[in-house]
């Protein structure tokens, strides 16, 4: 997904780290990774540790980190848009206008990463970066612990008990799409984008599924 960007910039002291939030594990993620033919890091995060550490809620989200290991852009949507919400569910297609807008938004995000690597543009000063950090609440902290327990129980043949923990994790942190969708996928591949997913998306109303990055 990021290979072109990486190929262009890898001689400029730049690295892409793509992390698969994939509780089914490495073998499940492997076909996508092989297809990407990438030479940046492709890591597997079966327990969604990165989401716990960085307070992430969806995929794809990105964090920009500078040479000193400091966060210069807190978690944000990595170029995806809400155009999919208007697609024709029967044919699974978007209007040509929506497709064009979607591509343009993605391109704009990639251009922003490029500009940052070359000129430092778009890196936020510390105060602004702090202001944009989503806060971890005690409910979110409990949600992460329940999710971790749920993944473990599922992986050890205790699916019903694991599902119960995961359902509670989603109830405590309803904005975390990656928790709900991962649990749905563990239940059955495909369920994460099935009818229940669309119902949840519709219930968002005017709220975004992918809040646009404020570039």
């Amino acid at each position: 997904m990021w290979q072109q960007l990486y190929s262009e910039l890898k001689d400029k002291n730049f690295m892409v780290v793509a992390v698969a939030e994939e509780s089914r594990g490495t073998d499940h993620a492997r076909p996508w990774i092989e297809q990407a033919k990438s030479d940046y890091w492709q890591l597997i995060d079966a327990e969604h540790r990165l989401e716990d550490l960085y307070n992430l809620v969806n995929v794809p989200q990105a964090v920009w980190i500078d040479e000193a290991g400091r966060i210069v852009r807190p978690p944000e949507t990595a170029g995806s848009t809400d155009h999919f919400r208007r697609m024709d569910l029967k044919t699974r297609t978007m209007s040509p206008e929506d497709q064009a807008e979607r591509l343009a938004a993605r391109q704009a995000y990639l251009d922003a990463v490029r500009a940052w690597v070359i000129t430092g543009k778009h890196a936020l000063p510390a105060d602004a970066a702090r202001l944009n950090l989503p806060k971890v609440t005690p409910q979110i902290a409990e949600s992460r612990a329940r999710f971790r327990l749920g993944v473990w129980l599922r992986a050890h043949g205790r699916a019903a008990e694991g599902d119960k923990q995961m359902a509670e994790a989603s109830r405590l942190h309803p904005d975390a799409w990656s928790l709900w969708r991962q649990a749905a996928d563990l239940d059955e591949v495909g369920k994460a984008s099935g009818p229940d997913f669309w119902k949840r998306v519709q219930a968002l109303g005017d709220k975004p599924y992918y809040p646009p990055a404020k570039l």
């Binding site: 780290v17 902290a141 327990l149 996928d185």
Partner: protein
């Protein structure tokens, strides 16, 4: 044995009645050491109620709740997850130092963010689902 999951590790510990365990096991699981002042890490000590300390044992579930972290048990109470306290996560992020992590690549090779110090890093998530 009781299985305890922390944000980055798993431990098998001889615990009873929840998470009562030896101070040595408590230190391995939590990184905090039982002292007369309470549970201590570096210069910091968290006092414990008398009800959470016994003869050569300590109630880690009670300590963890005092710390402000979630301690969640499976139905059979044989597997526990100790989550990071919200305050700890917020303080780490507000410091703006990108939290380090170690995860395997597709060949099982462990990679750490800290290995990339000196480079700009675009860290992005994805999933098949």
């Amino acid at each position: 044995m009781t299985k305890i999951l922390t944000p980055t590790a798993e431990h098998d510990v001889a615990a009873h009645d929840g998470l009562w365990m030896s101070p040595a096991d408590a230190a391995t699981v939590t990184g905090w050491t039982l002292k007369p002042e309470g549970m201590c890490r570096a210069e910091l000590c968290v006092p414990l109620p008398a009800s959470a300390v016994g003869t050569n044992e300590v109630d880690v579930a009670a300590f963890w709740k005092k710390l402000g972290g979630p301690a969640i048990a499976s139905d059979q109470r044989d597997v526990w997850a100790l989550g990071a306290p919200a305050d700890e996560r917020n303080a780490a992020l507000e410091g703006l130092e990108a939290p380090d992590f170690t995860l395997p690549d597709v060949n099982g090779v462990a990679r750490s963010l800290s290995q990339l110090r000196g480079k700009k890093v675009f860290l992005a998530t994805w999933a098949s689902w």
